[in-house]
């Protein structure tokens, strides 16, 4: 399962660490960084490498004419969640994709974040016809070069197909993929043993 990377921006260390600890035991999420201020987050080289932001709205300039998203400089497709434990103006809270409060249980927090998850449609996809062909070739013990030559594609393309096969099946080793191909009747024992 591909984990969603989270960045937390919260001034209080106790709250920051508490949230980190809760999220680290939540399946499907990993806390990438914690920052105490927005400025700190902006200066960090990997600040953009996140799938989800959790921010204490008191850190924002609440009278600013720009929206929350503009102030933070976060792309539209990345959800921003408010972490609330004091009174925050309704107009500000509305600008967030979700809100978690300090009274939420771990399960409530998890459910709110899961509801935000987008684009996980790739995870359970069936193998394409092309990928099945490549998988059969791998099961027969062919090298990347041999597969590339026999299918008239580049080695680079073969590697990309193989990566997608691993991602879709969850099987990494060559003997494992062979077993997968046999289990799914893509290939017979005779074909492998030849």
């Amino acid at each position: 399962m591909i984990e969603k990377k989270i960045i937390i921006i919260e001034p209080g260390l106790i709250v920051q660490e508490g949230l980190r600890s809760i999220l680290s035991s939540t399946n499907g999420f990993v806390v990438r960084h914690c920052f105490s201020t927005i400025e700190q987050m902006r200066l960090h080289p990997y600040a953009n490498d996140a799938d989800l932001f959790i921010i204490n709205p008191t850190l924002l300039d609440l009278h600013h004419h720009n929206s929350v998203r503009q102030q933070l400089g976060i792309k539209n497709e990345i959800p921003i969640v408010a972490l609330i434990y004091s009174f925050i103006d309704h107009n500000i809270v509305q600008q967030f994709d979700a809100e978690i409060t300090i009274h939420d249980s771990a399960v409530q927090i998890a459910n709110k974040l899961v509801a935000l998850k987008r684009d996980n449609k790739n995870e359970n996809e069936e193998l394409s016809e092309r990928e099945k062909e490549i998988l059969i070739a791998v099961a027969k013990g062919m090298s990347n070069k041999e597969i590339a030559d026999s299918h008239f594609i580049s080695i680079h393309t073969v590697i990309t197909h193989r990566k997608n096969i691993v991602k879709k099946t969850g099987i990494k080793s060559v003997s494992g993929l062979t077993a997968y191909a046999l289990v799914n009747n893509l290939i017979s024992f005779e074909e492998i043993d030849n």
């Binding site: 099946t169 099987i171 990494k172 080793s173 003997s175 077993a179 046999l182 289990v183 009747n185």
Partner: protein
């Protein structure tokens, strides 16, 4: 949890079922009553610090403590590793083999045959890895401890082996859970999965001890 020399051995044994194996592999016999770790180790001619180092690096989630090991300690750890291998050969690998063969008997189809074939590959790799370790790593420790002479630095490629074995066990579990649909044999599948989980955890613990030794050897080599 961190154990100390004053901890009762029975507490170690009850804290985690895998600790039972650790105690056994150190050659400690059960029936130690309420004796502390230190008392039991002394009675069994074991270095208490070594026992604590092993048991704590396997039970505590924090970073493993790296210390300089003396020759006597290294030899005690070597015995421990040898006992672990013996356990795999005599006990654990045969148990898993029996389970998968029972699974085959319960439902023989292309599906279970494919799994069986994969398992055979996996087992062969495990055996190869164990033998490789005995031939190189174990021999190196022995030479290091018996001769004072400098031994040519050993080739350390253990990590690759562990990695590929781990990958295969992960795949077997995935195949069993996600792709093999034979409801009539699900109890046997669970039994096999139970054993695979146990074996994997045990092997990870085994690798951790090897790291402790490796670190110490590398460091001593530098100072020679």
């Amino acid at each position: 949890m961190i154990f100390t020399q004053e901890t009762k051995m029975v507490e170690v044994a009850l804290a985690n079922h895998l600790n039972l194996h650790i105690i056994h592999r150190f050659g400690i016999a059960f029936g130690f009553g309420d004796k502390t770790i230190d008392e039991v180790c002394q009675a069994s001619n074991l270095d208490t610090q070594i026992f604590l180092l092993v048991i704590n690096s396997l039970n505590d989630k924090s970073e493993t403590e790296h210390i300089q090991l003396n020759k006597n300690q290294l030899l005690q750890l070597l015995t421990f590793l040898k006992n672990t291998h013996q356990y795999y050969y005599d006990y654990y690998l045969p148990i898993m083999r029996t389970t998968i063969e029972n699974l085959m008997r319960a439902c023989s189809s292309q599906t279970t045959k494919a799994l069986y074939r994969f398992y055979n590959d996996y087992e062969a790799e495990v055996l190869h890895h164990l033998e490789h370790e005995e031939k190189h790593f174990f021999t190196y420790i022995e030479q290091f401890c018996t001769n004072d002479a400098f031994v040519e630095s050993m080739i350390i490629d253990e990590e690759d082996h562990h990695c590929s074995i781990d990958e295969k066990i992960f795949d077997i579990k995935n195949l069993l859970i996600k792709y093999i649909n034979t409801p009539e044999a699900d109890m046997l599948k669970i039994k096999l999965l139970d054993q695979l989980f146990h074996f994997q955890e045990d092997q990870n613990r085994h690798a951790k001890i090897e790291d402790v030794i490796m670190w110490s050897l590398k460091n001593q080599n530098k100072t020679l």
